[in-house]
Point group: C2
Chain length 336, copies 2
DNA sequence: CTGAAAGCGCTTACAG
DNA sequence: CTGAAAGCGCTTACAG
């Protein structure tokens, strides 16, 4: 493996000069820099990140920590983050966290993460207070994408607003019997996304003079399968919504699938609105409150890089990106 | 950051002993090992991968290199690989390669990759001969998932067989006018997947005494959008297939979407079969030749780890995993 | 079974 | 503007 000494020999300078020249540090004569750069290029030399990390403490890598969830959402966050990380010479390390406590401890309790990466993106992950503490103790810039983590800077959408916009759309189409599918009864960590979207739903109903019917709220995690179950639950309860607001597009897809399986036509018999604008939502003609998840990943990464440049601080600013209603064919005016 | 000297101090031994004890090396007294492990646990100590990489040359990380393609496929490969890498204490580094040559050179020409990781998974990436050479020059175990790369070990499905199985299914349902959607006219790197699946298609047709009609083959990359365009192209050519074999499920989804938009019913008017068993295929009732992509990722990762343990060799074995027809509701017998 | 010391490939004060 | 040298945190012959 070509190392810095070979480059130095070839360029006829010391390794110190090579180091400075290649990193664009000031105080290197222009022609010296040029010949070093040439020598490095000819040899295909790049400084070993491991070796450079030792004296500097910088690894040149950023971690994206997400749940094991194999969803479109986390993929999109990573893609966005990767775009800007690559462009800035950082590598992207992926950590998937299960719900198993021991697995999580491995990441949070040990200092592995801290020793591996310069900064951390938390992608829509439910964290315990201890985990938040551990994250801070790492003394590395952290950025959350998704729900607000107290004391942590964050990129997000306004989930209450999202719920309101989705529900208002249905109300304006004349619907009054509007169900909500979302919220995970198993969630021990208080993941706020579903409750907030439901708050918006409740607000919008109240604003329209509609009293929310508890029987119209059915639980659903963020998966297609959960949507299927949610619709089944709705039927088994014997309630008859004319519209459903699903906590995510994947849930909405499951609802549409199951409804059709029961001969319920969409949108003639049932209007459905989701959240996200999943890559495949247009295929289903799904009306949705769209968010640009890749952009959120990009913002998270560039914020971290900026922070890395300017020195670590404990910023906690929250960036709220817009979410906009995209009307397609899964919702329609309620025929009286 | 707690380092090895603190652990040594706490355990009352030398750093050499700590190093040996923690890595499970032989020649450490049982009680010594125990007290070292306790000290390390109390301090939350983990050896710095960067520092350890310097003397050993091992980084404890594995790269997954894939195209920028934001597809389900690459995500699934990564998920599978991550499962086994995490379980074995390796971290997963993600590299997305664009089609832009300069971006690719950054990965292949420089020795960054080699200095960053111990092994490399190539996920269904079209490589030039130079890139294959560069990969070998890195002297790191490499494993391809997807198409065979000459001289490189690989996990794959038999794409000719896949094409044959899909087409035979349609033939057995009485179809004779069977279109094929796949193959990328822009592909300069000779990506073999589509051509091989088409070979299977041609073979199956011949076996049934059907002469393939060139007008029945339309190009399509591996995306939903390409499927939409492929169906549009089929219409504009004025051919009237009663069935289509799509090179992937995403292409099939696009075809179904566009066909229905034109009032063509599936499967009454058109049978469609894809390849992959994409996570969402069941939602579309899509008949498909299923492959277990996550398992392929797992196999790739465990093969690499095995190779890492046993020392680097230039193995080139090809592991072919099964692909099986899953019949759902997008295909049906042709009514005479 | 254990420890002292050299060395991995860089970066960075410190001198000049 | 440039170089010699110390040091980053580990691992690994080499002694004992």
């Amino acid at each position: 493996m070509t190392g810095i000494v070979e480059v130095a020999a070839r360029a006829g300078v010391s390794v110190a000069t090579v180091s400075r020249a290649l990193r664009g540090l000031p105080g290197v004569a222009a022609k010296t820099r040029k010949s070093v750069e040439e020598a490095a290029a000819e040899l295909g030399y790049v400084a070993s990140p491991s070796a450079a990390a030792l004296p500097t403490g910088r690894t040149g890598a950023v971690a994206v920590v997400s749940p094991v969830a194999r969803g479109w959402y986390f993929t999109a966050v990573c893609e966005g983050a990767q775009d800007v990380l690559t462009a800035n010479g950082y590598d992207l390390l992926r950590y998937e966290l299960s719900d198993v406590e021991t697995d999580r401890r491995r990441v949070f309790d040990t200092q592995l993460l801290r020793k591996r990466v310069d900064a951390i993106v938390i992608a829509s992950l439910r964290l315990t207070n201890d985990e938040v503490e551990a994250l801070y103790a790492m003394n590395r810039p952290v950025m959350a994408v998704g729900p607000i983590v107290p004391g942590m800077p964050c990129v997000r959408i306004d989930d209450v607003e999202v719920g309101r916009v989705a529900t208002e759309h249905l109300v304006q189409l004349g619907h009054r019997d509007i169900a909500f599918a979302g919220g995970d009864p198993d969630d021990t960590l208080g993941f706020p996304v579903s409750p907030e979207r439901r708050s918006g739903y409740v607000e919008a109903l109240h604003a329209a003079g509609i009293e929310p019917d508890p029987a119209m709220t059915v639980p659903a995690k963020f998966t297609v399968e959960a949507g299927v179950e949610a619709y089944a639950e709705l039927r088994s309860r014997g309630v008859n919504p004319t519209a459903v607001f699903a906590v995510s597009d994947e849930v909405a897809m499951g609802i549409m699938y199951e409804a059709r399986r029961h001969g319920v036509r969409i949108p003639e018999d049932l209007s459905v609105v989701g959240v996200d604008d999943h890559d495949m939502s247009w295929l289903f003609g799904l009306t949705t409150v769209a968010q640009d998840v890749r952009e959120e990943g990009r913002i998270a990464a560039s914020t971290l890089i900026e922070r890395l440049r300017s020195g670590i601080d404990r910023e906690t600013s929250v960036t709220t990106v817009p979410a906009t209603l995209v009307v397609r064919s899964s919702t329609r005016r309620l025929e009286p």
